[in-house]
Amino acid sequence: MSEDASARATRARELRHEALGLEPERLLTMYRQMVLARAIDRRMWVLNRQGKAPFVISGQGHEAAQVGAAAALRPGVDWLCPYYRDLAFCLALGLTPLDFMLSVFARRDDPSSGGRQMPSHFSLPKAHIATTSSTVATQVIHAVGIAYAARARGLDEVAVTCVGEGSTSKGDWHEGLNFAGVHRLPFICIVQDNDYAISVPHRLQMGVDSVAARAAGYGMAGVTVDGGDLLAVYEATREAVEKGRSGRGPTLIVAKVARFTSHSSDDDQRRYRPPEELEAMLRRDPVERFRTYLQQASLLSDQDDERIQQECTSEVDRAVQIAEAAEPPDASDIYRHVFSESGPG
């Protein structure tokens, strides 16, 4: 690129975040969230190899979509019914690295489940992150119910849910979206489309390029965005939130993302994805892309970046240390919380 072209490109980029009204500080916060999520995620795999984390499921490659979407929400007001790749999303809404590491080590004080659920089954009441099962797409309907209740109670809350593209094949996804469409609820479904459901490729999952094509059939807005482009996801989500808040109905957002890792620590994607595909995919790194954006916009110096990386790493180190040393759950507590402990209210 010539000097001139590069300068033009930079200006265009600056204009993008400025047009969105995003201050440099906000951008750096988002960048930090992505870096932190990536650092935690990478560490999980190390812990897995060390035999300390029996199960790992990853959000690497999805960070821009999640952080961009989260930035458009009001933490603790708007709701998230997440899915297992939403680490970055949840961090952006208030989950701490320690919170998360407590769940990786299945510790008693893990706020999501007290070590009962596998890691990445996020839940944090105070952040309005709802509890989820492993059964995909069930949470979509919960988000619809949350949105219905918000409206019924006169609360200005928007309910967001995330799923993978494979999970859109489930009946629950359909039943939820239809219900949201009928009642024009403040509801947003973000599909993180990474081309695979474990090993099942997109072409065997659906007959369309993007499930955004389904929005019209529910009477809702539908949009497909480049999920590697944080600002694009932010913009789409912000618009959807505004729609929801002003009574103009729900939105379906499809963010095209990359699944950097195998499905989980129990999978090996080289078994079913050709090497060229993997290679090309790995070049779509959303964290690097946003870093480049910030650097080209002169918002992030190499030192700043270094510092952020280091801060994140040591935050993760600390979280791992504390979590590893934390108490495991009591065996006898297995009987607790089947029913309310305070009895019929």
């Binding site: 709701w79 019914c81 893990d110 706020p111 999501s112 489940s113 007290g114 009962r116 659920q117 089954h121 839940s123 009441p125 709802a130 509890t131 099962s133 059964t135 069930t138 979509v140 309907i141 919960h142 988000a143 619809v144 119910g145 949350i146 949105a147 219905y148 209740a149 918000a150 019924a152 109670r153 609360l155 809350e157 309910a159 009946g171 629950d172 039943e175 939820g176 239809n178 219900f179 009928v182 607790r336 919380h337 089947v338 029913f339 309310s340 402990e341 305070s342 009895g343 019929p344 209210g345």
Partner: protein, 327 residues
Amino acid sequence: MAVKTLIEGVREALDEEMARDERVWVLGEDVGKKGGVFLATEGLYARYGEARVLDTPLAESAIVGVAVGSALNGLVPVAEIQFADFIHPAFDQIVSEAARVRYRSNGTWACPLVIRAPFGGGVHGGLYHSQSVEAFYAHVPGLKVVIPSTPEDAKGLLKSAVRDPDPVMFFEHKKTYRLIKGEIPEGEYLTPIGPAVVRREGSKLTCVAWGLMTHYCLEAAESVAGEGISAEVIDLRTLQPLDRETILRSVEKTARAMVVYEDNLTGGFGAEIAAVIAGEGFEHLDAPVTRVAGPDVPAMPFNRAQEEAFMPSPAKIADAMRKLATY
């Protein structure tokens, strides 16, 4: 006290609870203007409006899932599944979700909701409007399972269910809706979830039942009473949690026990009752625990002859009582 039908008990409970607490709302197919296919919600739409008495799309999983979500955000949903036969599509939302919200979140989330569904046969409903489904749910920890058999209990138990902090499956035998009449106390009352009730005292044998079968057992007990067989009839009312004490106390007295249920014999909830009695009441038993139940065929046929062949009846129960008494 006024004599009313069982479904009036249901309706009054819903009405009172909705009037008492504006977080309570009703959702399901045809619960609105029509007032439900059995008219359990009649009048509520006019009184509380569409947002609180919502005709949902035809989607049972969504009915339960929306109920769960609304409970997470502060409402108290009472979902109606039009027929228990059509609850199966919502199985996952009930079993994996509603039943586990509290447990999987280590007590940090709660899921107070009620799922009402008419069940049972003998009404020419054929294979898909006659089923008993309580065994599926009484097997799922995290759910309470309630089946009233009188108008008074229908009202008192449903009011308790609405106030319960956990998910309650509330099954109403559709043949009892108008057949079973009884007095409903004036004024507010709650019938606690849990305790069974002895509907008829007896000394020779114990008969455990719920729903319509309670009444058939009472009829049967009456018919064998003249033959000198004194049968005690326990109406379980709540299957989960199960009132072991009332059952075992009775068996200790009578030394003979039978369980009567309309569901298929094998793996029906009567198997659990029989196992409990045979396990914990072993020392007291003078005879094997008898089970009178529907046969192991998929469901109740529509034609009258086969429907009758399926249904446990007062006559069949009386026969079993005679056999058990003389064992």
